[in-house]
């Protein structure tokens, strides 16, 4: 197929124009007085709230040196608690990826009575004080369960509590992205012969992946740090239902702040590793499409 048709430069070749437009040339050092002040205030605030406390924890943890870390990790009860925490948080994160995306889809795409109410209720697990969430779960799924479901003092209790508090994260990150998606893109795919499933996999999902990953990262970070909502229902049984945050508290109560700091640092590192790993995964996955 050849063509004799021609276009003027206006609509034809336009190399690099879009790229230039998106990144206006601006020197990094060109801060005005007010923006410099704003940057300074932001950094001081961020340091006071985040950087300095984090550094303090790491310093505290490293007072015992490398041996201190090994010693704490060699404690079977502590390592069991860490393992349980990470495994449960990962499981809950996976569940959230599927359920959160589904709920977001339902909220955005389906028109039904009570959609607006459901949209508000989604935030409750996030807004509720965690200890209140723990009480609610205990009264519903504890020994005195009105529906005769008793998961108290089992690993299911840990999973349930984590699932409860992390529910909104993926929903709330995916929802706005889904709202922005044009349905004509899906119609274009279907007229090109794509089935609903194929369209979801090749057209919709790629746009959602960054949002899903962001939500999953937050859900995981919240999951490994959770205390209030599970402390009542799980029973905190060593080697069975005791999680890392509970372990930190008991270390502090026992006067062993160094050990508590070590566990805290390990949680910090795990959270960082998982968030970075998720980001890398997302980049790789989206590149393949």
């Amino acid at each position: 197929m050849t063509t004799a048709t021609t276009l003027t430069p206006e609509t034809g070749v336009r190399p690099g124009r879009a790229a230039r437009k998106r990144r206006p040339a601006r020197a990094v050092s060109a801060l005005t007085r007010s923006s410099g002040l704003a940057l300074g205030v932001s950094l001081v605030w961020f340091s006071l709230l985040v950087l300095i406390p984090l550094a303090a924890v790491v310093v505290q943890a490293s007072t015992g040196g490398w041996d201190g870390f090994v010693k704490v990790l060699q404690n079977p009860q502590t390592s069991a608690a860490l393992k349980l925490t990470v495994v449960q948080a990962l499981g809950v994160t996976l569940l959230n990826v599927v359920m959160g995306t589904t709920i977001a889809w339902v909220l955005v795409r389906d028109r039904f009575r009570g959609a607006a109410i459901l949209d508000v209720i989604i935030d409750i697990p996030f807004a509720l004080p965690t200890i209140v969430a723990g009480l609610v779960l205990l009264s519903l799924y504890g020994p005195k369960s009105p529906i005769d479901v008793n998961v108290a003092s089992t690993r299911a209790a840990v999973f349930l509590a984590l699932a409860f508090v992390t529910l909104p994260f993926v929903v709330r990150t995916v929802q706005p992205v889904l709202e922005e998606l044009d349905t004509d893109v899906e119609e274009a795919a279907s007229s090109l012969g794509a089935t609903r499933l194929y369209t979801f996999r090749r057209v919709i999902l790629p746009s959602l992946v960054p949002a899903i990953v962001a939500g999953a990262g937050m859900a995981f970070a919240r999951g490994i740090a959770e205390y209030g909502s599970l402390v009542l229902l799980s029973g905190n049984l060593p080697f069975k239902t005791e999680v890392a945050s509970v372990r930190i508290i008991s270390s502090i109560e026992g006067g062993n702040t160094a050990s508590a700091a070590v566990v805290a640092t390990i949680l910090l590192v795990i959270a960082l590793v998982v968030i970075v790993a998720l980001d890398l995964l997302q980049r790789r996955v989206t590149k393949r499409w």
Binding site: T3, A4, T5, T8, T11, V185, A188, S191
Partner: protein
């Protein structure tokens, strides 16, 4: 006949979008569905594509009854006003989408994609993302993607509606030439009469869910079947109760023609080479006359001047009372 539409009706709640549409569109033609916004032309296009379903009636594409076929099975190419490109895929991947679904061998897909990008002048952008293209380029990409699967019909829904005037005009010319080359049966929706007159082999005028007239651009312009068609395709004004094109009125400063209507110039508006003169006749009618700048200057047309108006020889006029379709035209 490539597309055969019989007795199609479609309502959205109380709103009747299409009413008893019967239409045959021949193979290989470039047809425009022309009409005002909300007139039902896009709905008709979407029904042909299977993106919407008619409440009653049938759609036949290339001899196959497609009324109940899903869009995937119709082998129709569809181009949207806002491009609807796959943003996360490269230009080449976008074009390959339909071919990959059809599980064509990789080498064949690659070759076909290269051909199509050549056709739409996007070869050098094959590895770019759509966000790095201009609007006109994105629409050409959408066109290549639709043509890749060798559709039996190509449907375009206001394809140039989101582009600026200059690019729109260029793409319009280009679409015409592309069609002369590819010869795929093409239907495009537009509310721009100039676009339809310039590009289409045949125009279907749709208004308020009904087909007003079907014909070639010349037929529609020279022999409009209704006052709606007359006033929608080009400008129209009334002179002595007759619809007439403003440039078909002869304006004189003395009563030369027999039966000329006398009036007073109430407004003179100059737009480039054209001068639009509004004349208030003695009978109380407001008539718009367009003259060239030169003619207006020569006649000395100015506000308050007494002038005489008559239909030029060969002008098409139509009773403006909204008489039923098919009323014989009076040629002055």
């Amino acid at each position: 006949m490539s597309i055969e539409i019989t007795g199609v009706n479609k309502s959205f709640g109380d709103f009747v979008a299409l009413e008893n549409i019967n239409l045959s569109l021949p193979t290989g033609q470039l047809t425009a569905l022309l009409g005002p916004s909300g007139g039902g032309k896009s709905t008709l296009l979407r029904i042909i594509a299977g993106l919407d379903h008619a409440d009653s009636g049938s759609v036949e594409i290339e001899g196959t009854n497609a009324t109940h076929l899903p869009p995937q099975k119709r082998n129709v190419g569809f181009v949207f006003q806002h491009y609807a490109v796959f943003k996360h895929m490269s230009v080449a991947k976008n074009v390959a989408f339909g071919l990959e679904i059809r599980k064509r061998p990789k080498a064949e897909v690659k070759q076909r994609v290269a051909e199509l990008l050549e056709l739409v002048h996007l070869s050098q952008f094959a590895d770019r993302l759509p966000s790095q293209l201009s609007g006109g380029q994105r629409q050409r990409l959408a066109l290549a993607r639709a043509l890749a699967v060798e559709p039996s019909v190509l449907l375009l829904d206001e394809p140039f509606g989101a582009l600026d005037a200059k690019v729109r005009k260029e793409l319009r010319d280009w679409l015409r030439r592309l069609h002369d080359e590819v010869h795929v049966t093409t239907v495009f929706v537009t509310h721009d009469q100039e676009e339809a007159l310039e590009v289409a082999d045949e125009i279907v005028v749709i208004n308020q869910g009904r087909v007003e007239q079907v014909g070639t651009p010349d037929e529609l312009y020279d022999a409009p079947a209704s006052d709606f068609v007359m006033s929608f395709l080009g400008e129209a004004t009334t002179l002595g109760g007759q619809l007439i094109r403003p440039h078909d009125i002869e304006l004189t400063t003395s009563p030369t023609a027999v039966g000329a209507i006398e009036g007073v110039v109430s407004r003179v508006l100059r737009v480039g080479f054209e001068v639009r003169v509004t004349v208030l006749t003695d009978a109380g009618e407001e008539v718009v006359v367009t003259l060239t700048r030169t003619a207006a200057r020569h006649l000395g047309v100015d506000t308050g001047r007494h002038v005489w108006l008559s239909a030029a020889a060969g002008a098409v006029t139509l009773p403006s009372a909204g008489l039923p379709v098919g009323t014989p035209l009076t040629v002055a």
